[in-house]
């Protein structure tokens, strides 16, 4: 009888102890916000004539890209994908649950992984309705930059970079790792929301190796070496802009 009581007590104690870390590990929330800028100002579609630093001007009509599989070290990769669309401010941010803790870096996949490109019809951000899916050849356009430039030699002066290709040496999806600067680690607290703003500095695109001026390279709309080079260049444009920690 006594031993049974002890057993019950021990069981309760063990259950209680097991529960403690669970409470401490009530997830925090991380909001990631993408801020697409040109020379420090938010990118304007249609209304602004930009200079690319190569004596060329252009106007933008579309700026869209996929991000997904967000990960903080020690956390499971978040499976979701998001389409960041400059046209739609509601698409610029999203919120995910993460384990509390201090983190040195945040990483995400720029683009769409191979399996999501090959496993049939998807929905949500990956719905082919979103104008980011090739029809003549299966696969996602992972980054889309469209506009016009007087220097473009194409019909209607189009400038059009549709960057995709999910397999082989020219795949464009890539993991972007963004470190938090020393002394400013990302601190996720249980039950609280922290916002990290990631900046995309589009003007730097034309400073990357492999990116030529618009006149020489106005269009890329097939997978291949050029798409890969341009996508890698695009991947270099991201950095941590700001972290808004909740009050302690």
């Amino acid at each position: 009888m006594v031993s049974m009581k002890i057993t019950v007590l021990i069981t309760i104690a063990v259950l209680y102890l097991l529960q403690l870390p669970a409470q401490q590990h009530k997830p925090g929330m991380l909001t990631i916000q993408f801020k697409n800028t040109y020379n420090g100002q938010p990118v304007q579609l249609y209304d602004s004539l930009y200079s690319n630093g190569m004596n060329e001007q252009f106007e933008l009509r579309k700026l869209k890209y996929y991000v997904g599989q967000v990960q903080l070290a020690g956390n499971a990769i978040q499976p979701q994908y998001y389409l960041i669309n400059q046209q739609d401010s509601a698409s610029w941010y999203f919120t995910i649950p993460v384990n509390p803790g201090k983190y040195e870096q945040l990483s995400f996949l720029l683009g769409v992984d191979s399996s999501s490109n090959t496993s049939g019809a998807q929905t949500g951000a990956l719905d082919p309705l979103n104008d980011m899916y090739w029809t003549w050849q299966s696969g996602y356009v992972m980054i889309k930059i469209e506009g016009t430039s007087p220097q473009s030699t194409t019909a209607n002066n189009k400038m059009e970079y549709h960057l995709g290709g999910y397999s082989g040496p020219y795949k464009v999806q890539q993991r972007i790792n963004l470190p938090f600067s020393f002394g400013q680690l990302l601190h996720i607290q249980p039950g609280k929301n922290t916002t990290v703003t990631i900046q995309l500095q589009l003007e730097k695109f034309w400073q990357q190796p492999g990116v030529k001026n618009i006149a020489a390279q106005p269009v890329c709309n097939t997978p291949g070496l050029l798409a890969r080079q341009l996508a890698l260049a695009f991947g270099h444009l991201f950095s941590i802009y700001h972290t808004a920690q909740p009050a302690q």
């Binding site: 490109n117 090959t118 496993s119 049939g120 019809a121 998807q122 929905t123 719905d127 082919p128 309705l129 899916y133 029809t135 003549w136 050849q137 299966s138 696969g139 020219y170 097939t222 997978p223 291949g224």
Partner: protein
Amino acid sequence: MSCVAITSAFVMGDAAFKPTPKKLIIPKGWPKPTRNIFANNPLTEEGIALGKKLFYDGRLSRDGNFACASCHQQFAAFANYDHDLSHGFNNHFTKRNAPALFNLAWMNEMHWDGGINHIEVQPLAPITDTTEMAETLENILKKLQPDTAYQRLFTAAFGSRLINSQRMLKALAQFTGSIQSFNSKYDKVKRGAASFNTSEAFGYKVFKSKCNNCHAEPLFTTNRFANNGLTINYKNPDAGRVKITGNPADSFLFKIPSLRNISITLPYMHDGRFYTLTQVIEHYRNKMDNKQPTVDSLLRQKISISNQEKVDLLSFLFTLTDEEMLNSKLYSDPAAPVKPYSHQH
């Protein structure tokens, strides 16, 4: 109050959602498909029925005239009978010959150039191509969503009235993926239920020694890509598979099509240049341009086929026609009259 009603309706709908599972038939002696195309899209009677209605519905095209079935006709094994190129929106011709559709569960890459990597995303190409159906997914969904018949069919197939692109594409894949051809005279001979006549039997021998490397039994294709030495068609230039892979060695390679139902899938080749099987055999034994650098190694010497062998081979090829599939109600237009011109006594 209405909220409660809606919620309970959904709950009831969910509980009542029991679609009837269907199984792909794997005929005796056939290999298993190397990939299960229904892994994330369980085959059900309701899913197939919805897919069939979509397949025969002109509303999937911009002007209502071009259903999938307008270029994929059942009596032609879902190829486009007697059309080298098909007719599409606004008097356009399509770029390539419409392929026959059957046994697609054994085909991992669609299109003559293999550019499509999954049956579910295949319809996106003809739907959006401005020379084919010339429509957008948004518009199709706008047309289907208010339609109560579709609301019922989507609910039966997927458990709720939600009509989105993923469900539409999965339903189409269930229908096209379940079109199967395995009841030709050849199949019956293989099962011991029929026998070849003398010419067919000789033709089968010719086939096995001269054609089977590329058009391998029982699917009558390896689904490989090959350049079969067609002269370059300068009016409709098409480099084939290289457009997808970027590899120059893939220039002028096209998918090897199945020979099943070949007697009624004329015209032949990716551009439909040959209208008769005699022309096709003439190509392989004589007219082929076998000097092109990417011509398949099996065709470098052309194929030697005597006149007698040619006659027998044709006899054999005619045994590959599957009348049961061509006439099966499983695959026919659900809106069509049962027997169009039959006498009613």
